[in-house]
Symmetry: C2
Subunit: 649 residues, 2 copies
């Protein structure tokens, strides 16, 4: 029946896309589930999640301040959308499954808490009390817990799995840190040494612990050692031992533990995925199976199989479908058993590139000219290795010209020559190669087949954009109008980007870049992970430190500019290094500051600055960030790149 | 014959210790080879290599200056020893093999060049010309190329194998760096921005390349970004992209490439070792084999086998030897075939721990007392878990007391209490456990069996040393003499080291520490590698930069102290941060400076300081050091720790 086919199609489709939802199999629920998986509600949901997260830009402390009434209304709309999506989900899967799933509970809790927070906030504001929108910290949990956040959840799970092991190494590391600090206090505290700014050196135990923690991150090397080293050679041995044990050994062990766990977990995850996929396909088979008259194992007939494939992938070509069938039914019996049917999900995922050698459109249009001797010579020339080398040389000359002063009229003129040369190259390539091969949607996404198609397309886009931007710029300049700095910037960037293509001519480089392109999508998952973790730290950081450090524009003559508008910063390294713009005064600044903390260098100056304007314990916030992001997440990222590289390279 | 046995014993011994020397098999050469492998000439050679390397301490620029006549005489003596050792080696192996081996050629070249350099140097000095002892750079090559530098050569080979791959990634990275620098020049160079010290920002291409290279190492983050970021939010995007691509992606790819090569190479190396070992054992078998009267495959009889084992390992016990034979000859036939014989090398490497449960000496001496009820209760108490917990608590209390001010008489007195408690613990343990099990040579080195024996012994040494040091200290104080700061330091260090043993009570920690102890010996190979590479850079650095930066003691009132005695450093970050003692004025300073460069932080300040006192191109020395040590060697070290951890943990 139609309903059976729908059900089977859903199983196959779930198996194909590795969806793991145990939906209700009643016809009504199946129809709802089909709608649940449609791309429109999915995209809408993700859009509203992005809107919800972006509210931080408009809420106090804001980049663009909007009255809280408007942001609250938008947030209510978002909450409504999330609730509707959750209700839809609740109708799709059995009730007991729904309430057992921690993802759903988490979403409900976040929604309720957000609503409660909004009400409390408005009430407090109305009575002129101090109010904090504390539920903003919870927003990224929505992104993690919706059905579509599968990849992100996997990344978080891999972190959670590594945590116990990391924890034990971390305890040992902390023990080593505390012991070394105690030794430093006893060895150096009573010598009356002074730091560079005249403060007593290594006399306070907690300060020593912080300084030595910073030394593990290498951020205060060699400054923290200098007073001791200046007083005697032998104290350098203490610091060398410390760095060897804590920076080199312990940090490598952290990476080793994280990587070890990651590999173990990855294997388990892949095993589970394969099991779930098989399970779904077996269910689809059970729905479609028929008993043959001759007896034996149940089978699926070709007609039913065809209908399922059409339902699962409506845009599949007949030739492709017949190819898949012939692979499954290799004895040409007209039916397939369970074993052959289960493979369908994987077969559908294999991209079949139909490489038809179509004649060039010019050949069809005007064969006499296109196949004439000079035209064929031209084609041979363009396909020759020398053509590539000539253009590589042109790029190198172009690079030199870009480096020169563009105010010189000769240089400005040369830009037109280079643009013409690049355009000529594209036209010549189009003359030789099938244009549709370059611009078809299918090959566009098929990164695996060749990086050359990507790079040719990248070239074309860059060159055409550069042409347009240069024309716009020239038109504005020659018409005597004000030349926009932004357009000039874009022209420059496009000019420089054009140089990248030289990499593509070297086989070795192409192999490395192909690897990087292939691990790209997974790196994006880490991008999401970082955004989620940053969001939480940004929200907390903004509540703790907003407005404590002020930034004055370069042309400001306010004397407070020298100490970032906060007298507590007078004489600190933070103010001396002019770090005033590194603050938590809005979400964009916060993100950039957190990125600087991730890079680690000078993080102790940043953390000491914020400790100076609040309380010494503010350093805990920065240490926690360092542990969470640098020790855990960056190590997972490195482990991931290592593993991906071993598989691909 | 005796000579056959000697030959076979050498083959077995070579196989056992993985020696890979194809010596001449004439009886005379075999005798020489036996002498060549004796420990005395080996230790002598290593001693003279250390002496040769240590000459750098006494040569200009020296830590302790000695007239060059004396250092030259010592160096000549070293050269003589190396030549003798090489001549010995030449007599052991066939002539054609000797001249084909690049190791020997390298040693000869180094010896000849050193001699030539010494003559030229003396001649130039005699005629009052400027002279450089350039051959000092070659000294570490001796350590690498002698027979005993096998591990070190392996480490260098693994670097050489990774180099081509690293080179391609490095080219791609350099390309990215140059493109980003060009973009930075075009985007930021014309905005009239100023750095913190008022210099024009991003206007010189080569300066930008250097600044962005430093940014990859994170050492100038966020300072290099601040002028652009202060002028607009959007420029931060440029730096974020740059850090993402170059610091995170490229640096991970470097590690991945190094690790990938390391793993591949390691497998190949292990395969070769196994092959060479088998080859040696087959040769030994060929020497000893006899044809049995019944025919069949040739065999080795037990008597011959016994003689060989006694020759190879003279101190082996009869029981151990019989155990090995019974393993080899499992059918109890009185002879073994080739297959069983080849295993001998591995069998000899297996440590057999003879765990005899000997009665406690006190029990033998005075059984009535030792086996009485109170004595047995005491033993049970000491072996109880609570005993460990009580002592862990004592350690924690001790830690707090150490942290407090030791000038307080109560605290000073408490030290005696703690020492007494620790001594009591050792005595109680000796009362329960077999003392010989703790102090026998065999179990001392047998780290694999248990870290607990090591830690108990470590405890005992620390506690007894602390007791002695404290008594000496008290005696000196009470006799009214001057209390030596050095002895006090030792007392403090020993006190703090005592706290380490708390780690041992926790099973999880013990597992991690056992892993670290097991990979320890291999880490020492990396230590040698680092010393070799540092030595070369230190020699070159001392010739380039000696005396350019001077250090003035803290109590000096010389105004030149503010700029390290070199007016060119006035106003530089190098002088402001008081880095004067980070110089190349002697080999110890050079090593500490190179270590600071390895830690990376502030390396741009150090390199810019030395560029200021010489020439801007001096930065190349520091960049080269960064590439060689941080990108290549440290990554190999991390790869090594990762791999070791996966195998062990
Ligand atoms: Na750093």
């Amino acid at each position: 029946s139609k309903e059976d086919f729908d059900l089977a199609a859903i199983y196959v489709s779930d198996a194909q896309y590795n969806r793991n939802i145990y939906f209700d199999t009643s016809p009504q629920a199946v129809r709802l589930y089909l709608r649940y998986n449609h791309w429109i509600p999915k995209v809408l949901l993700l859009f509203f999640i992005v809107v919800d997260l972006s509210l931080a830009i408009f809420e106090e402390p804001a980049v663009f301040l909007v009255p809280s009434l408007y942001t609250m209304l938008v947030e209510l709309l978002c909450l409504l959308v999330f609730t509707l999506r959750l209700v839809h989900y609740a109708k799709v899967i059995p009730r007991d499954k729904f309430w057992k799933d921690p993802k759903n509970i988490c979403i409900i809790v976040v929604l309720v808490l957000t609503l409660v927070d909004m009400i409390i906030y408005e009430a407090l504001i109305a009575t002129d009390c101090y109010a904090v929108r504390w539920s903003r910290v919870l927003r990224p949990l929505l992104l993690v817990n919706v059905t579509e956040g599968r990849q992100l959840r996997r990344a978080f799970r891999s972190i959670r799995n590594a945590l116990p092991q990391i924890f034990y190494v971390f305890l040992l590391f902390m023990f080593s840190l505390l012991i070394f600090s105690l030794m430093a206090l006893k060895l150096l505290g009573k010598r009356g040494l002074k730091t560079l700014d005249g403060a007593p050196y290594f006399t306070n135990y907690l300060e020593i612990v912080f300084d030595l923690y910073v030394l593990v991150t290498t951020a205060n090397s060699p400054d923290v050692m200098m007073p001791a080293y200046n007083s005697s050679f032998f104290f350098a041995i203490f610091f060398i031992l410390y760095i060897l044990i804590n920076t080199y050994i312990f940090m490598s062990v952290f990476l080793a533990v994280v990587y070890n766990n990651y590999k173990k977990y990855l294997k388990e995850e892949v095993r589970q995925l394969v099991r779930a996929k098989r399970h779904k396909m077996v269910r689809a088979f059970a729905v479609l199976q028929e008993q043959r008259a001759e007896g034996g194992e149940p089978v699926v007939k070709q007609a039913n199989w065809n209908q399922i494939v059409k339902l699962v992938q409506p845009d599949i070509s007949n030739a492709h479908r017949e190819l898949l069938w012939s692979v499954s039914d290799d004895n040409n019996q007209g039916f397939i058993g369970k074993l052959a049917f289960v493979q369908l999900a994987d077969l559908l995922n294999i991209e079949v590139i139909t490489l038809k050698s179509r004649p060039h459109p010019l050949q069809s249009a005007c064969p006499a000219l296109y196949l004439s001797a000079p035209s064929r010579l031209l084609c041979r020339l363009i396909q020759h290795r020398a053509f590539v080398i000539v253009y590589d040389l042109i790029i190198l000359v172009n690079a030199v010209f870009i480096g020169l002063d563009e105010a010189n009229p000769l240089i400005a003129y040369s830009e037109w020559v280079f643009l013409a040369l690049y355009l000529l190259e594209i036209l010549l390539k189009l003359y030789v190669f099938e244009p549709r091969a370059f611009f078809s949607r299918h090959s566009f996404w098929n990164c695996l087949s060749s990086s050359q198609i990507i790079s040719t397309r990248f070239d074309t886009i860059i060159v055409v954009s550069a042409l347009i931007a240069t024309i716009v710029n020239s038109a504005m300049t020659s018409s005597g109008n004000y030349t926009s700095r932004q357009i000039l910037d874009i022209v420059f960037i496009l000019r420089v980007l054009r140089l990248i293509r030289v990499v593509d001519s070297i086989q070795r480089f192409r192999a490395i870049i192909n690897t990087l392109i292939r691990i790209g999508p997974a790196i994006l998952t880490f991008g999401q992970l970082i955004i989620v973790v940053y969001y939480i730290f940004a929200m907390v950081g903004m509540e703790l430190f907003k407005g404590k450090v002020k930034f004055y524009e370069d042309d400001s003559s306010d004397p407070a500019k020298a100490y970032c508008g906060n007298p507590l910063l007078k004489g600190t390294a933070f103010a001396q290094l002019n770090y005033c713009k590194n603050n938590f005064n809005n979400v964009v600044s916060s993100y950039i500051l957190l990125l600087e903390l991730t890079v680690v260098n000078q993080w102790h100056v940043l953390s000491s600055g914020f400790a100076a304007v609040t309380h010494i314990s503010a350093r805990l916030f920065f240490i926690l960030f360092h542990i969470m992001v640098v020790i855990v997440i960056i190590n997972i990222f490195v482990a991931f790149v290592l593993e991906a590289f071993f598989v691909e390279y």
